[in-house]
Amino acid sequence: MEDFFTYSVILGIFVATFKIATPLLIAATGELVAEASGILNLSLEGTMTMGAFSGFLIANETGNLWLGLVGAAVGGGALGLLMAVMTATVKVNQIVAGLALNILGLGGAFFWYRSVYEEGGAVAFPTVDRFQTATIPLLSDIPAVGEVFFDQHWLTYFGILMVPATFIFLNRTKYGLELRSIGHNPEACDMRGVGIISRQYTAVIYGGVMAGLGGAYLSLAGGNQFFDDIVAGRGWIALAIVIFGNWRASWILGGSLLFGFLEATQLSLQASGVDLPYQLLLALPFLLTIVALVFNRSRSQVPLSLTIPYHRGER
């Protein structure tokens, strides 16, 4: 146990915390915007997987990682568009649409991957030359702090930047105010002449793009290949983090980092052979989400019309 509390192990946990939190943070801030418009997109897991694949595919084919990110955004955005068509236009049940798209995203990505890279019954499992961390000059030389905060991937900086950006967008802009109003009471917006469908499309497609980028982190930065189950439940965790964060950007940052920290600790514990049930640490974020739900009940910021389709003239 004493071996565990060494400087290098603890520093390693903090560095890993940000790496693990990155895809969660990107997907969850995107989902926050989608949910603010009143649409719950349960397909994050499948959308992240599709993003991880389409990003990998483009990066591998072109040899350009940045084009890969564009590919991931397009892949995730396409699934977001499908979700928007089903929920904002056709107005089917959002839970059903989300679960169906989730399966489509997962299955579609695996199928496409195999049809591209399978030869003679065996998959080649190619790899890309993945993103290196972007070391910020001077700041990264600060002991400990530099390594934790200023020697991370661009996508990590991007994810953290999206927290204040999302807050400002939702709370300080006209579009954000209208989006939140739609999520709470679409009829009020309709009667004020604020178009609902176009804004829901924008929000849900944006959520899909962000989930795609979150997935691409896994195949282009955190790892260097695509494989089945690459997302491994992170889509569901991102959904839980939005709830845990009570639909507030700052808490979503806290939730993502908390999850990243627990996961990193758990990995370190396993690696150092400490005899603790790591499953307990893995389950902790979900327990905390339930606790947060119970205690936030009266102060819940949940969009009041989340999952309820709007039809004009039905009261």
Binding site: K174, G176, R180, H184, E187, A188, M191, G193, Q301
Partner: protein, 518 residues
């Protein structure tokens, strides 16, 4: 508003907004049938009619919510194409709906600016300045930063009205704006509406209350079953004329009721506390007694604990402290089913959500909740013959208009829905009837029927706890009137010993001592 009036071309008294041969058909209903209405500039024009007469549909067409199937709308003589509320707002027409269109978790000011901001970066200073000016001008005290969901319904209505005026509209449509107000609140609203009219605003007010038409309007258009019966100057008619136009026959304005002596108490509610989830409408030590053979009317503005009182008496929720006795038995912690078997009938406020299974047949709804009785089932198997016989008898005696007992309930009108509930609940000759808003939304004929039935039950010896926001109903039916405010009964009196104004004061929270000093 003043600016808007000056910029308009037409002088006061000329037609500003005209509906010409407007027809709107919904599946199975002709909501508006070749309707012609002429609204003059700077007048208060009432659209009067019973529920289902087509008033709201007409207003929604004028506001662009619906597009007419036939006919057209003219603004200042020019045809006006309205595809959505946005078009109406741009043409200077605003509407306050009966169901508020507010975003409860947001502040007053955020609600006001939705859809009005020109730039992407939110700028609330201008809105705050105009809001404060408006509230000061009309003596309304509301904090612009307050969360709308925490305001009283009266305050929320002001937010709705200002929200609409903020667009700078020339024509303001109000759909049943007084439903949620105390008599004093209504007086205040009317005073301000008159002032706005004098300043040049054109106001269209939808109502089914004759008294409001007489008090406020310059002219009134009466609708019946989707058609215009006529437009008259209010000064030329009285309430009786309007009622005849509205219903198509003479109407009894008073329910006949003989004097009655209250017998043994059938309901004794003693100091109950019951907290509601939302924090509004909790009970804070409420006590009330209902004797056999009397109707006790509970008057109050909605949200003062009526829902909690109803739930506590019928057993849906249990009070945290205090006691409830029905026919001498303690039912404080009893389940709804057990309370029903003591002879308690309940007529809930929301008949669709709480009273009926809308996709079940009429006969199924007629036995709903009584299905376990020996009459209707044996060993868990429903006795269809008995149910059919009971349904046929109920449909006959309660004059329920339905093609058959197997008809799906959803297709029936509001009055017939309420009759199904009444038939079911009154079938066991209950000793106590708890009725919450039993005539809300019903037409005049159905209202008369329900009220007559409640008086008959009282004459039979049942005790009736009647909760209503309709003060005329309270005065007509009650042997005693109790006023509920903030989860307590603040006054108990008899209809002959009080006035509408006094009850209104109590409803707004004034105690007897306050009144003495005024």
């Amino acid at each position: 508003m003043a600016d808007a009036a000056e910029s308009g071309a037409a002088a006061p008294g000329e037609n500003i907004l005209v509906a010409e041969e407007v027809t709107k058909v919904f599946p199975g209903v002709v909501a508006n049938d070749a309707v012609n209405v002429e609204i003059r500039r700077a007048e208060i024009h009432c659209l009067l009619g019973e529920n289902g007469a087509g008033k709201t549909t007409l207003a929604d067409i004028l506001y662009g919510v619906y597009q007419p199937d036939d006919g057209r709308v003219l603004l200042e003589g020019k045809p006006l194409e309205l595809h959505s509320p946005r078009d109406a707002i741009e043409a200077g027409i605003g509407m306050v709906h009966q169901h508020f269109e507010l975003v409860p978790p947001m502040s007053v000011i955020e609600n006001v600016v939705i859809g009005t901001q020109a730039r992407q970066w939110l700028d609330l200073t201008e809105a705050r300045r105009r809001l404060e000016e408006f509230f000061a001008d009309y003596d309304v005290e509301i904090d612009p930063e307050a969360e709308v969901g925490r305001l009283s319904v009266g305050e929320q209505q002001w937010v709705e009205i200002f929200k609409t005026l903020y667009f700078g509209v020339e024509i303001l449509i109000l759909d049943e704006p007084t439903a949620v107000l105390t008599p004093q609140g209504i007086e205040e609203l009317f005073r301000i509406l008159r002032r706005m009219r004098d300043e040049g605003l054109t106001i269209i007010l939808i109502t089914h209350k004759l008294k409001e038409v007489m008090d406020l309007s310059d002219r009134v258009t009466v609708l019946r079953r989707g058609k215009v019966v006529g437009t008259v100057d209010t000064a030329d008619v009285d309430q009786r004329d309007l009622a005849r136009m509205m219903v198509g026959r003479d109407v009894l304005m008073q329910a006949d009721k003989a004097a009655s002596e209250a017998g043994e108490p059938v309901l004794e509610v003693d100091e109950i506390h019951l907290e509601s989830d939302t924090g509004r409408g909790s009970l804070e030590g409420l006590s009330i007694t209902v004797g056999s053979g009397e109707i006790v009317g509970v008057a109050g503005v909605s949200g003062n604990g009526q829902n909690a009182l109803f739930d506590a008496v019928v057993g849906v929720r249990h009070p945290a402290s205090g006691s409830i006795r029905i026919a001498g038995q303690d039912t404080t912690e009893s389940a709804p089913h057990r309370i029903a078997t003591l002879g308690v009938a309940s007529v809930p406020a929301d008949r669709i959500a709480q009273g009926l299974m809308m996709d079940f047949s009429v006969k199924e709804n007629l036995v709903l909740g009584n299905q376990r009785e020996r009459q209707f089932s044996r060993a868990g198997i429903l006795n269809r013959g008995q149910i059919d016989a009971f349904a046929a008898e109920s449909i006959d005696s309660f004059e329920i208009k339905t093609p058959s007992a197997s008809q799906i309930t959803r297709t029936l009108s509001g009055g017939n829905l309420q009759k199904i509930i009444m038939a079911r609940e009154l079938s066991g000759q209950p000793q106590l009837i708890v009725a919450h808003q039993p005539t809300r939304g019903l037409d005049i004929a159905a209202t008369e029927y329900v009220r007559r039935r409640l008086i008959q039950e009282r004459d039979r010896g049942a005790g009736v706890l009647l909760m209503s926001e309709d003060l005329d109903e309270i005065f007509q039916l009650s042997d005693r009137i109790a006023v509920i405010y903030d989860g307590r009964i603040v006054a108990v009196t008899e209809p002959d010993a009080t006035t509408l104004e006094q009850i209104g004061m109590h409803m707004a929270g004034a105690s007897d001592t306050d009144q003495g000093s005024q």
